[in-house]
Symmetry: C3
Subunit: 456 residues, 3 copies
Amino acid sequence: MQKRIRSNGVQSFTELRGSLDALAAGEELHAWIRDWYPIPRSLSGAGIREQFARMQAHIPLTLTQVVSGSPAFDWTVPLEWNIRDAYIKNGVGERVVNYNTHNLHVMAYSKPIHQSMTLDDLRPHLHTLPEQPDLIPYRTSYFNERWAFCLPHRLLESMPEGDYEVMIDSTLENGHLTYAECVIPGETEEEFLFSAHACHPSLANDNLSGLALATWLARALHQVPHRYTYRFVFAPGTIGAITWLSRNLDVLPRVRHGLVLALLGDPAPFTYKQSRRATAEIDHIVAHVLNERATPHAVIPFIPYGYDERQYCSPGINLPMGCLMRSQPGTFPEYHTSADNLDFVKPAALAESLELLLNIVEVAESNRRYLNLQPCGEPQLGKRGLYTSFGSPAATRAFELALLWVLSYCDGDHDLLDIAQRSGKTYEEIHRAAKALLDAGLLREAAKGERLAALT
Amino acid sequence: MQKRIRSNGVQSFTELRGSLDALAAGEELHAWIRDWYPIPRSLSGAGIREQFARMQAHIPLTLTQVVSGSPAFDWTVPLEWNIRDAYIKNGVGERVVNYNTHNLHVMAYSKPIHQSMTLDDLRPHLHTLPEQPDLIPYRTSYFNERWAFCLPHRLLESMPEGDYEVMIDSTLENGHLTYAECVIPGETEEEFLFSAHACHPSLANDNLSGLALATWLARALHQVPHRYTYRFVFAPGTIGAITWLSRNLDVLPRVRHGLVLALLGDPAPFTYKQSRRATAEIDHIVAHVLNERATPHAVIPFIPYGYDERQYCSPGINLPMGCLMRSQPGTFPEYHTSADNLDFVKPAALAESLELLLNIVEVAESNRRYLNLQPCGEPQLGKRGLYTSFGSPAATRAFELALLWVLSYCDGDHDLLDIAQRSGKTYEEIHRAAKALLDAGLLREAAKGERLAALT
Amino acid sequence: MQKRIRSNGVQSFTELRGSLDALAAGEELHAWIRDWYPIPRSLSGAGIREQFARMQAHIPLTLTQVVSGSPAFDWTVPLEWNIRDAYIKNGVGERVVNYNTHNLHVMAYSKPIHQSMTLDDLRPHLHTLPEQPDLIPYRTSYFNERWAFCLPHRLLESMPEGDYEVMIDSTLENGHLTYAECVIPGETEEEFLFSAHACHPSLANDNLSGLALATWLARALHQVPHRYTYRFVFAPGTIGAITWLSRNLDVLPRVRHGLVLALLGDPAPFTYKQSRRATAEIDHIVAHVLNERATPHAVIPFIPYGYDERQYCSPGINLPMGCLMRSQPGTFPEYHTSADNLDFVKPAALAESLELLLNIVEVAESNRRYLNLQPCGEPQLGKRGLYTSFGSPAATRAFELALLWVLSYCDGDHDLLDIAQRSGKTYEEIHRAAKALLDAGLLREAAKGERLAALT
């Protein structure tokens, strides 16, 4: 892989984060979501390709088309689904249910149909939410050829007995599954992998929020030098992630950190779901950043259901990849309904998610294991201008203590994050101390697995 | 060892447990205890052999006779003790203390005596319990040649000064120490070892309860196919277990699980005393089953006193063997007195102990480490009929989650019990999911130490 | 190293501790501190040499003189500083500040000066404590050539504007850094290292208390047989410890335990600061002894600032060395002021510190890993007179349980301290049981890393 670092004035990720106009960024993210909301995304077809096309206005994307019937581990890539129109007309020819008004009205992957039938015959093909009678549910049937409509329960109750004309103008044909990637090379070939599912139709939080944040981050990473190679995978859920994994086995050993991004636009507290490894560096990073930001949040252990971390953390893959969310899937009333709309996601929440994400990336970029090059006794900091005598201000004294913490624990067993946690100092203080010691020639980066040998 | 599985209609241990008539079993256990209660068991002699003869009415037993003076690790098998009659007669020739009325009246291993003496001379040979004045204590003196009577303190207080005729018609002669074994071969030569001490005379809980439960379990194991080879050791306490161990060194490496059974007939909550290893599979199994049954209980760490787990877990042996009890020795007022009688043990308590024991055996039988054969991404459960679409009942959905848990953690590092604990699901749910995945060809049993290799 | 054990009537450390007259010892320690208090100790020079000379009245010391300019790891031995007189005279020739009245009045390592100056010009060279206006602060400037006086703030406030004669009759010249060692050979070449800093002038707690306790302990160790070789290092702080370390690399691998002694004369509760290893045997010993003594105390983790444990536990050295204190540096108002005087340290506190120290040494001396020589089943204690039958007093029974604990866990993985903690018995009970079993031939000491092999 060619190493390439583009810089656009901003010299570091820390600087980028420092100069962020969060308010403006939140508005921009929300504007993108508004732009993308009506697109009829699904597992395959024109909708998801249109989504990728719109994202290409902001970042370069490489699209991969995988032909229907291709194997992907235990799975087979399904037929491509497209839909032009769909409706249920009543006895007087009025569209009672009209796909043109909301693309949740048709169950995804519904096969085509056009016939007249009584309400009683139609009923088994109608999905509603009796306890949320004004909302349209989101339903799919990817691997069973069926058809159905989704509609508000109140609407169903208002429909008189009698004959209805039912029409779904869809196709299920050989075609392609499409996924998109954006790879931004860094100083090393080690990768930070982000993934967001792109298959849900008009649902704003799930997962236009993830798509928008990933796009914003990818754009930013083109503008600032960085250490890791960043890879963004945008794919339909489950089969898309599985297909990408099955075709990128060579990439996997290079993945040092990973995050699935989903449900990041609602105002709920953050949830970080750990990788299956539970003690991966990304797990430490996210938990530490959430703690330091003192924002309400939960860190939960891996469970084998949820989003595509199911696939990335399947036992044969087991990537160091967690999932960053606000609400958790299935736990909020708007989940998988027409209420997950443009009002449900907020610019302020998106901005806060972005700030957290940038903070996570910033820590990942700088967190390393160093070795103390003068490990026998303390080095004489005074002769290097790193130690002042009595009477220096508290900030200087605090900095000097940070230097001592870094020197004491740069033994190959502890990274900067470990030292921050052990010392009770912020990551930033420890990082600043490490930089000063590096500049003074008192540290060097440890090789993989390298540890300091003590004399005892 | 010849592999042999006898089946008597019941096809599995789960089925056996499902069809248990607990009430009837409790009554049967209590009837056995009533039958055995009067037998004058001791470390050796006719009493313990009679005990084994009665048990042979229910299960086949192999008896081993070890001649007095034989070495057993650091010990020597003692002389055989037998007793025909014993009494203290008062001045008018009445039997004030009469061995025929209760075999606790004579200290076990009392040497013979027949002489007349004053009450003052007799007194040092009389054991009573001043704080429990109506009870006869249980006393032994196996390794010091002495003689003594045990009697209620009130009886002693009622005895006038004067001369008494003291007679113990016992023998201490070269003979044998006898232990009994019942071995029921299973699919593998790995063993599940049960042990119960058989040396206590008329004490019902300590340990006719353990003998009865072990006999019941051994009988059942003859009637149902099973995986482990089960070995039951019935022996006098301490010297019996030590003698058995010293003569079965070849068996020890095959013991996968072990349980000492004692004090299982009183109505106190269960106590599980962990093996000295503390993290053996049997420790996990018993703790998990007790938790799932939601019955009041305590799990306590190994301490080097108690029953024969002292010997089985001595540091040079260190078997994965815990001790299952209700009350703990020395902690209840009936302990080692004539109040540990047929009223103290209850059919309902015995039945509950049996149910727990069967549950433990059932989990041990089925708990294994499997490997996921489609570990990269989730396998496609739908095409195997293991995944239903939206709208399936809660039980089906719960089963599907159990499938995902099993698939995610069948990596060689976790057995089914670990997965049950991690997932919060019951062992039965996890076991049922594993069976379904095994039938679908998605799992195979892991070889010893085999682990899944992830791609990362 | 020649092995040499001198005995002076006292046969064991336990006996020594048992016969301690704590009251008298506390008075003796305080008398030494009174004797040493006026000496003008510093990093180098006549004062610290005088200190060592006075200590030689009690214990033999080997002095090492390291010439100025010598390298010591990252450092260089500084010039030697000596001072004969210093004052500030007012306009009428009176000594307003007089070094002869308190040696804290001059900042340590002040370069010579003799000139007249206005109060305004003098002010930057005057250190006071405005919030503790009656106290003289303690200040140093070892590695920047400066000069200053230290005085009570009230005195400064009383000084009128005008000219002052300022005189410091000091020299900063090539000379030596001096450290002192007392090595008392034991049965083995493994060492117990004690260190106390000797560079502070008239401060009683910091660290005449540490010097006095170390001297007392060293004297006692000459009078009683012991296992470890004891080494006491008395040196100036930081540069002294670093210089000693750099010249004793061969000693370091032999150090089995280490303790820095400081701030042990004030009446605050004890503080034990763990070694950087945190789980070294000395960490277990001190925490256990503090717990058993049930004295208020804190055990705190290693932090890379404080006393010379900073150097002994630097990552390239990493000795198993903690720091025993009462108050912690910087946390009490008398710290580094003229209030850390002879009233601040108390004979009773010194005596209590000594008792703790002796207890720590006693446990370190006897704590070992033994192997049970009869590990299969329990050994027959009765035939060795170590087991009595029913009816023995509670103390005997407790002793028998201690025997069983020791037998069960003398497997090479546990030392006596581990067994005390696991059993809930006191270290003394466990130690006494181990001695009895050793006498009975049932234990032997384990070789380094040796473990019992179980049959399973």
